[in-house]
């Protein structure tokens, strides 16, 4: 239950961090909040030769909320993003979903970008990034930066498009647009635990309050949070007359859950349908108010 030995690096700026990551790739691992990485190290499920601690890189500790959306730097803690009123105004789904991320004490240390790069299919923030159509910005020494759309970023369970030597410097969550509502619903065995199933939803209405688009991303029911578009299932009807149970059923039939000690695949599929209906109804209601 102790990490194996590693060479510890504490860069002072992004340039230095990228140099170290380039020099040590593929044996370097980035440490930000450590709330997912350090358990893996403690249990020796991971044993990187080099650890690049970015906790002393203040330029990564940023939350920039603007008209287009919220850009969250690699060192912004869950708690800071959750507390940020400007971030919540620009994209309310951030705060809504962050309250489901582990416990308050974990959120004091864990980072949003770290959670994305960890790419756990049971985690909330990857689903939020996917349903909003956000992106992750990756930087590499001498190679500039590239923005990877959420739909391409999560490549498998605990696997992302970030390559050895790359540093995820920030993530971008697009702003809430007019006549759009968002919601997040999950079921966990205990509050703060990994979700048995969860659904993030975004619904947009047109000027006649008919469904213009409806999307969900599901937690814990597949190898990665895939965006599911259910606009067609809503049939272009006004939010009040949509057959939500049948839309939710369509969601539950398109996910790919597995069995484990916490739940059977069938139960996860059932829960996903129940949660999809709840989240879509709430999102549609908020869209009508917005």
């Amino acid at each position: 239950m102790k990490p194996s030995a590693f060479d510890y690096h504490a860069p002072r700026d992004v340039g230095e961090a990228l140099e170290i990551l380039a020099a040590t790739a593929p044996h370097g691992k980035v440490l930000a909040g450590g709330q997912s990485l350090i358990p893996l190290l403690n249990m020796r499920l991971a044993a990187p030769a080099h650890l690049v601690d970015i906790n002393r890189v203040p330029e990564l500790d940023t939350i920039e909320a603007g008209g287009a959306g919220v850009r969250v730097g690699a060192l912004a803690r869950h708690a800071a993003v959750e507390r940020s009123d400007s971030a919540a105004r620009a994209q309310p789904l951030l705060r809504t979903a962050l309250r489901h991320v582990a416990h308050p004490v974990i959120r004091n240390r864990g980072t949003v970008v770290g959670s994305l790069v960890h790419a756990d299919p049971s985690a909330e923030m990857p689903a939020v990034l996917v349903v909003l159509g956000g992106s992750v910005r990756l930087a590499r020494h001498g190679g500039g930066e590239r923005d990877v759309p959420a739909a391409d970023f999560f490549t498998g369970p605990m696997e992302s498009a970030a390559e050895p030597g790359e540093l995820a410097v920030s993530a971008f969550f697009p702003a809430l647009t007019p006549r759009t509502g968002t919601a997040f619903a999950e079921v966990a065995r205990r509050h703060g635990d990994y979700a048995v199933a969860g659904v993030a939803a975004v619904v947009s209405l047109d000027d006649d309050l008919r469904i213009r688009s409806a999307r969900v991303a599901c937690v814990s029911v597949g190898p990665r949070p895939a965006p599911l578009d259910v606009t067609e299932e809503c049939g272009g009807r006004p939010a009040a007359t949509v057959d939500w149970p049948s839309v939710a059923r369509a969601v539950s039939l398109r996910v790919d859950p597995g069995d484990d000690i916490h739940a059977t695949a069938g139960y996860r599929r059932h829960l996903t349908g129940v949660l999809a209906e709840r989240a879509l109804r709430v999102a549609a209601g908020e869209a009508a108010d917005g």
């Binding site: 510890y8 974990i106 004091n108």
Partner: protein, 165 residues
């Protein structure tokens, strides 16, 4: 063979401390083994139980999920540092004692640190806020009822103390 050691300085419970640690030394182990402060308990060592919770610059964090070297230069408060300046129990400690909010006591240091920060940020929490606030700390003895009572009692004690001053 020898692992590289890093010189670190921490202010622990108001006292400047210096020590040398390998990069992989967890803050929990640094406090207990290097600095001799065994009040911080280590339960699960992967962030689930909350026993090792300490205050890092006033914010509760898991010391088993923090490397000591990462927090070089920062201020740590452990359960040993919660008492009043005159050595008496803090309101949170008193409330836990009065309300029988512990049995075996293993989880208590983590609860005390978590609750101290909780009440600083929210001096009069509702039941729901208390339960949410302590949701990351496990107690296998009490069933939590008396812990929730103790948090409310500590809130009262702190209110009374403020009223008097």
């Amino acid at each position: 063979m020898g692992e590289k050691l890093h010189e670190i300085r921490l202010t622990v419970n108001g006292v400047p401390r210096e020590t040398r640690v390998p990069g992989r030394r967890l803050l929990s182990d640094c406090l207990r083994h290097d600095l001799g402060l065994t009040g911080t308990h280590v339960g699960c060592e992967h962030g689930v139980c909350g026993c090792c919770t300490v205050l890092l610059d006033g914010e509760p964090v898991r010391s088993c999920l923090t490397f000591a070297v990462t927090v070089d230069g920062r201020e740590i408060t452990t359960v040993e540092g919660l008492r009043e300046p005159d050595g008496s129990l803090s309101p949170v400690q008193r409330a836990f004692s009065e309300s029988h909010a512990l049995q075996c006591g293993f989880c208590t240091p983590g609860f005390l640190c978590t609750v101290t920060a909780l009440l600083r940020d929210n001096p009069a929490p509702s039941d729901d806020e208390v339960v949410e606030g302590i949701s990351g700390n496990l107690c296998r003895c009490t069933g939590y009822q008396n812990i929730v009572k103790a948090v409310h009692r500590a809130s009262e004690l702190m209110g009374e103390a403020e009223g008097r001053s």
